[in-house]
Symmetry: C2
Subunit: 391 residues, 2 copies
């Protein structure tokens, strides 16, 4: 029982979320509906989930004592990001509280080399790759795949950080030397000549039930997701099924619990290549809040609680999500009048974050059946809300 909230039913579980950014924030509406208790671990008083969740514990995810204090009284602990050190995860598991996804699965979302090794071993389609111990490894790989190649920090990167596309051996050597100086481990992989990026999301529960969301197309700019089209336009059924099969296989073989997102490259021949994994709600699934019967946030909570999963059926033939990326305007609200009047079907999600250039501060979703119309509406609203256009 939570003494602060004695009226909650005695069996309503408390879900602890490590991290208090927009992903934790967007879990709260799903928790409210199901009558669950959410507790967030917040490293910064300005974390945007703190505005909407009464039960906030302050602490850094690397601070073992803070994490263990936070977990006391939680019925399950889950994550909105992967940045939790292995020793903290192990100590958390040792307390007996269910940790979902568990450290054994989370490793493959934390460490890209471990992920490549494991997924290659499962026969899943990864670009040619190698661990990098020195410039020779990069040159060897390029000898097989040609330049450019991609160098990646095995840990800690996100939104395009920790990724370098290098055109030749000199450029590779410079990145490798800098990384070595900072103690950053690298891998090198073929630069896949993709024509577009897709994402496949599944939810999986500890007892092994899984559901697959429609496969979406994601559009990145400067390494940051800008738009998502659900379902991916003109994807043929075989490739959509293949993407879902890849995600379901990974979820099962890696024993993922909760949401799993598999980012994929698609090449001109239609083939799919695994890019990255995320074991949590993911930007490619924000459209599900307004566009699907069960949002990714609800299914994440249901999965980590080992509740039966909800239908991922979409509400409309098409959903288009556009991220609002911070630019000049200090906040989104003054633009509501124009955006909401222009489009009564627009769904605005404002994360309540301080605006910084390049920061994800919100997103918009539009449902419909005409691709050009939906993209124009979502793109216009996102541009207007960030202050890129003024009409």
């Amino acid at each position: 029982m939570n003494p602060a909230h004695p009226s909650l039913g005695p069996s309503a579980p408390r879900v602890g979320v490590i991290g208090a950014g927009q992903l934790a924030r967007m879990m709260q509406p799903a928790a409210i509906a199901l009558g669950l208790r959410l507790r967030v671990l917040s490293a910064d008083p300005q974390d945007c989930a703190n505005q909407v969740v009464p039960d906030v514990v302050s602490g850094h995810p690397g601070d073992m004592r803070a994490v263990l204090d936070f977990a006391r009284g939680c019925d399950v602990v889950t994550f909105e990001h992967e940045h939790v050190p292995a020793d903290v995860l192990e100590a958390l598991v040792a307390t007996g509280v269910p940790v979902r996804p568990g450290p054994g699965a989370l490793l493959y979302a934390q460490d890209k080399a471990e992920m490549r090794e494991r997924l290659s071993g499962l026969g899943l389609p990864c670009p040619e790759w190698t661990r990098v111990t020195g410039p020779a490894d990069a040159a060897d790989l390029a000898g097989k795949t040609g330049w450019p190649i991609v160098l990646k920090a095995t840990r800690g990167g996100y939104d395009g950080r920790g990724v370098w596309v290098v055109e030749d051996a000199d450029a590779a050597a410079r990145v490798i030397a800098e990384a070595a100086e900072r103690g950053v481990s690298l891998l090198a992989e073929a630069a896949v000549p993709f024509v577009r990026e897709l994402a496949a999301q599944v939810a999986r529960s500890p007892h092994g039930q899984a559901v697959a969301y429609p496969v979406v197309e994601t559009v990145q700019r400067d390494g940051i997701c800008r738009e998502v089209y659900a379902p991916a336009p003109a994807v043929d059924e075989a490739h959509a099924l293949e993407a879902q099969r890849i995600a379901l296989t990974i979820a099962k073989e890696l024993d993922v619990t909760g949401m799993l997102a598999v980012e994929l490259f698609q090449t001109a021949d239609g083939r799919l290549w695994i890019n990255e994994l995320a074991m949590r709600p993911h930007n490619s699934g924000h459209w599900t809040i307004d566009g699907a019967l069960t949002s990714q946030f609800e299914n994440h909570l249901r999965a980590v609680l080992d509740l039966p999963l909800g239908s991922p059926a979409p509400h409309a033939p098409l959903a288009v999500m556009a991220n609002v990326i911070g630019l000049d305007l200090p906040d989104l609200y003054p633009a509501y009048l124009h955006c909401l009047a222009r489009d009564p079907g627009l769904k605005i999600h404002n994360y309540g974050k301080d605006v910084k250039p390049g920061r994800k501060i919100g997103h918009v979703t539009v449902l419909g059946d005409d691709f050009d119309d939906c993209v124009e509406r979502a793109r216009h609203a996102a541009a207007y809300l960030r202050g890129e256009i003024d009409e």
Copy 2:
């Protein structure tokens, strides 16, 4: 600026909600998406909105000092119930904070005699009625309409409380005498021989924009709403439009801001009769959370903030909502396993309230296109969650 949440944008408004029950609770997901700040006035620490809204001010809606303290720093004050005394409302308005709906409109949701007088004056279809000052008024009305008639407390009733159907003059005299003893004012009205009950909901903003939701059928038992069918089955277009026209007329003529629900009786000839008004989100619109592009809670917030209103378009041909009414089970959660496994499309809303027999503790919504199927699914889940059935 809210000092506790410095990262909220400087212009994100704070909406104060008088009341902290399930209606305030269900405003929170809409507020989270739009990045608004919600503050609730809670008369009881166990109020279920307190579990999910960080900004709770304790106080009774009749306590003028508490209400004024609560309103300080709010950009607008609205309501989840009508039980605020006139002097408190007037003092609130005098502070300069926008109060929406305003006292001039709210009066007609607070006082059924004022409502009957006003709506009759507008030529809107009300049952024959009269204020009751003594038994002769009831007998006079029955002389015109025949027995039974309905006696109603002009103020304070809800969920069937404060309503008496009386079969003869003696029964009427008893109710009238008891009411007089308790200082309760009554009105008498014809018992409309209705074949079903409908509800028409509209949102209206201060600048006069209004949107109308599909007209629904509501099913009451013991004076408490049990099920809602959206849209009302087999309602012909003329009657649906008439119901929406009635609601839009009332919203405009009474200067309602926010959501307005008009409860209607439909008689065998198809005619509509106004039963009651509610100027807030209403049980008849809970289906809109999962079933419409813009929920009644979001449109209520948008309306009281004078933002453009959102599309009320439904996601599916049919939505069926069933209330979970407290019975034997002390809480809902243990039944989730069965209900969610049986129906992956089921949407559960658990208000986190202590279970008491007859109390609304949650609701479920099902979307689909087959009436019998949707009703069976919603009815089964509601019955299972309350403990009425066990398979």
